[in-house]
């Protein structure tokens, strides 16, 4: 064996070929089957897509690096289920490009945050966490209420998401900026179309408490309020946590 190696290390091309071959095996065996084995992701017929406003909010969550301190993956452990709710299923993040499972909990897990607190609580908390949680170590995101949300290219965002596999319709893509406005302005004419295109379960509210304009706060709160609510699958009977 060492004699063989003695010859291998005399050939640069041979070394390269061998390194690529040896290093590829693990990934091929562990990753490739995840795309083909059907049980990897559960069936969830009630699974809905993110609305344009929620997509925008998710992008703000990514922009501010929230994932560095908050996970969105409840493990199958008893204390996690009791603290955060039913453990996360693969299907719940199947429209998440990329996933935001996270790796660190400097703050709590957010997989089931949706509808746990009021919109007003979120707005105050994001504006300055220590106004509602004095011991918090989260930064104050005061600029979220100041920044006007960019909605004009949301159609392109939805189209890109469709290209990677999220089932948006042509109608949803064409009306994306309008629907973003409508979802945060329940009294406007645009609000009706949102429920029509995204379902009656969609939250259509004044997320940041102001009707005048659409802010980054509207979008982020809309996203936080839908976390864990895209499908009911996790609340159906599942194997017991360890």
């Amino acid at each position: 064996m060492f004699g063989l190696h003695y010859n291998l290390e005399r050939s640069a091309v041979g070394l390269v070929a061998f390194i690529v071959l040896v290093a590829s095996i693990g990934g091929l065996i562990e990753i490739a089957p995840l795309f083909t084995i059907n049980e990897t992701v559960e069936e969830a017929p009630d699974m809905r897509v993110y609305t344009p406003l929620e997509v925008a909010g998710r992008n703000i969550y990514i922009r501010e690096g929230c994932y560095a301190c908050h996970s969105q993956m409840i493990r199958t452990l008893r204390d996690e289920v009791e603290r955060y709710g039913p453990y996360s299923l693969a299907v719940e993040s199947s429209y998440d490009h990329p996933q935001l499972w996270g790796s660190k909990r400097t703050g709590p897990d957010l997989a089931r945050l949706g509808n746990k607190y009021s919109d007003a609580w979120h707005t105050i908390h994001l504006n300055n966490p220590r106004d509602v949680v004095p011991e918090s170590k989260m930064p104050a995101y005061r600029w979220l209420l100041r920044e006007q949300l960019h909605t004009d290219d949301l159609g392109e965002h939805l189209a890109a998401l469709r290209a990677v596999g999220v089932p948006y319709t042509d109608e949803q893509i064409a009306n994306a900026p309008l629907d973003a406005y409508g979802q945060a302005n329940p009294d406007s004419a645009a609000a009706g179309g949102v429920a029509e295109r995204y379902g009656d379960a969609t939250n259509i509210r004044l997320f940041d408490g102001e009707a005048t304009r659409l802010t980054d706060m509207d979008a982020l709160v809309a996203y936080l309020q839908v976390l864990g609510n895209l499908t009911d699958a996790a609340h159906q009977p599942q194997p017991e946590a360890e």
Binding site: F2, H5, R10, A12, L15, I19, V20, A23, S24, G26, G27, I29, E30, I31, L34, F35, I37, T40, V41, I62, R63, G65, Y67, A68, C69, S71, R75, T76, L77, D79, E80, E82, A90, V91, E92, S93, S94, D96, H97, P98, Q99, W101, S103, K104, R105, G107, D109, E135, S136, P139, A140, R142, D153, E156, H157, A160, A163, V164, G165, V166
Partner: protein, 549 residues
């Protein structure tokens, strides 16, 4: 550096830099309504500045043919300085974000000063800025010495070094503006990723072209590691960053994969960024500089073979241990755990090989802080790989995952192993690279060593404590069967450890500043009068073997 280039190479440089400027201009125009435009201006400025610099130096006399009998070390020299500058930036931001966790009001209502945007500047600054520059600079140095061949030309090494730093600048400035893919250690957006692929292909080509001209029949073990680093990082980078941009005028993209497949791909990437960027590359460094400095041959050739192929094969299976108890199928978690545990064998073979090489040279470890840096790095490498295998066990991981224990583990590796082997290697070549007789101050190297060691120990102990406490508090039950602590209770308990961690980081940062000062002062020392027979040869900092050995 322009005087090093031949006339044809100067023309090529102007062509490449001009093309880079044009790409920047196209990005600036296409992305004028987007943050992409700002990056366009940065690329344009980099291209223009380079173009003007080459243009002004284009009439300098051509280098003589005698250069072909010497090694080409100018890119290594610049790379070493960039390594130290990125160390100060990356560790400085690291200290700042550590302080933010203790005192969050220091965000001052400025978006780019918030923790979430600064944190990737720290991680990328240290891994890619500090680590990457160290790898590029030392790989050029080691490659030439172990093949006894000069780099193939004078322009592609500069393209790799400067192009790579452009990538680092685009990455870090993007995070501050909020541009990130959110995938840990793969945050840069699609256009930066494509640029890195271009740089990487040229880097690989330099390796192959130099090896093709080697005068040594055997490829030395350090080069196996550098090659594995270049090749596997390319595979990981390309697969994990597959994405569809919103438009050609938009910086934002959506990853091709979603949910569980994306999570597995990300941690296959993430764990092997540790394996092939932060381990393989630095093992290459260790296999050359440690025996050189100790003046002893590597203890066992067979152990190097076993550890090299073991690491190359097994690390690629281990990524799924980042996803224990998640929605990832159980069989993948189990495979990841099993391979992570077995991985201890090749890891300790490398650490053991390094330490056994020092047998007979321990008096040098005692007297020479530079060699002590490298010896300590090997010890920390052994500690960290043991801890890593341990934490990959499912039951242990249930406690450690999501806590500061992971952060402690990472820093035992990053500070104790990666940074120590880098500083040791750097100190050992700075005098010969800059043609000085010795380092400016051996005392300051000693000071740096103790700052680095105490900083690492304080940091790691703080995070071990906070992580284990956090993990235990989350799963403590009252007698009546309810959870004892709210999440915020565990956060409050972390406060003293976060202060201790910031202090440990500060010590380490001070050490890096000491190194920067020491190297700058070394360069500013007068050059020794060249002895005629030494011209063109490396001046060893110390004789390789001491008299009487």
């Amino acid at each position: 550096m322009i005087a090093d280039l031949t006339r044809a190479e100067r023309l090529w440089a102007m062509l490449i830099l001009g093309a880079l400027g044009l790409i920047g201009l196209a990005m600036a125009i296409g992305g004028r309504n987007d943050l992409l435009g700002i990056h366009g201006w940065i690329v344009l400025a980099a291209g223009l500045a380079g173009f003007i610099a080459v243009m002004r130096g284009r009439d300098a006399p051509e280098p003589g043919a005698e250069r072909l009998h010497e090694y080409y070390d100018a890119p290594t020299r610049v790379g070493l300085i960039l390594t130290l500058l990125w160390a100060v930036v990356g560790m400085g931001v690291g200290f700042w974000v550590a302080a933010l966790l203790a005192w969050p009001d220091m965000t001052f209502d400025v978006p780019w000063l918030s923790f979430g945007r600064l944190r990737p500047v720290h991680t990328s600054g240290v891994i890619f800025g500090f680590g990457g520059n160290a790898l590029i600079a030392t790989s050029f140095h080691v490659l030439q010495r172990t093949t006894r061949a000069r780099l193939p030309d004078q322009i592609s090494p500069w393209f790799v070094l400067l192009g790579y730093n452009l990538f680092c600048v685009i990455a870090a400035s993007g995070y501050l503006m909020g541009l990130t893919q959110s995938k840990e250690y793969a945050e840069p957006e699609w256009y930066a990723d494509i640029w890195l692929v271009v740089v990487w292909v040229v880097y690989f080509a330099i390796y192959m072209r130099t090896l093709a001209r080697r005068k040594e029949p055997h490829i030395y073990v350090a080069n196996w590691y550098y090659m594995a680093f270049i090749l596997v990082v390319a595979i990981l980078h390309i697969v994990n960053n597959l994405a569809v941009p919103v438009s050609l005028g938009s910086a934002k993209s959506y990853s091709l994969f979603s949910g569980v497949q994306d999570a597995m791909t990300q941690w296959w990437y993430g764990h092997n960024a540790v394996a092939f960027f932060l381990t393989a590359g630095f093992l290459g460094m260790m296999y050359y500089y440690l025996p050189k400095r100790a003046g002893r041959p590597i203890f066992s050739y067979r152990m190097s073979i076993i550890s090299f192929w073991g690491i190359t094969f097994m690390y690629m299976w281990a990524g799924s241990h980042h996803l224990h108890y998640t929605a990832l199928p159980h069989w993948v978690q189990t495979l990841g755990m099993a391979f992570s545990v077995v991985l201890l064998v090749p890891s300790w073979a490398s650490a053991g090989n390094a330490l056994l090489t020092l047998n007979g040279a321990w008096h040098k470890v005692r007297d020479d802080a530079v060699l002590r840096f490298m010896a300590l790095a090997a010890i920390f490498y052994g500690i960290t790989t043991f801890e890593g295998s341990f934490m990959a066990i499912r039951a242990v991981n249930s406690l450690s995952h999501y806590t500061d224990w992971t952060i402690g583990h990472v820093h035992a590796g990053a500070l104790g192993w990666v940074a120590m082997i880098t500083f040791g290697s750097l100190y050992s070549i700075v005098p010969s690279m800059f043609k000085r007789e010795r380092i400016y101050s051996q005392k300051l190297v000693e000071v740096h060593f103790w700052l680095a060691l105490s900083g690492t120990v304080i940091y790691v102990f703080a995070m071990w404590n906070s992580g284990v406490i956090q993990g235990l508090m989350w799963r403590t039950y009252t007698e009546s069967g309810g959870l004892t602590y709210s999440f915020i209770d565990s956060l409050v308990a972390m406060h003293p450890y976060y202060i201790a961690r910031a202090f440990g980081g500060l010590l380490f940062l001070l050490g890096a500043l000491t190194a920067l000062y020491n190297v700058v002062m070394t360069i500013r020392m007068p050059a020794p009068a060249p002895a005629p027979e030494d011209a063109g040869l490396d001046i060893p900092a110390k004789p390789a073997l001491q008299a009487g050995e």
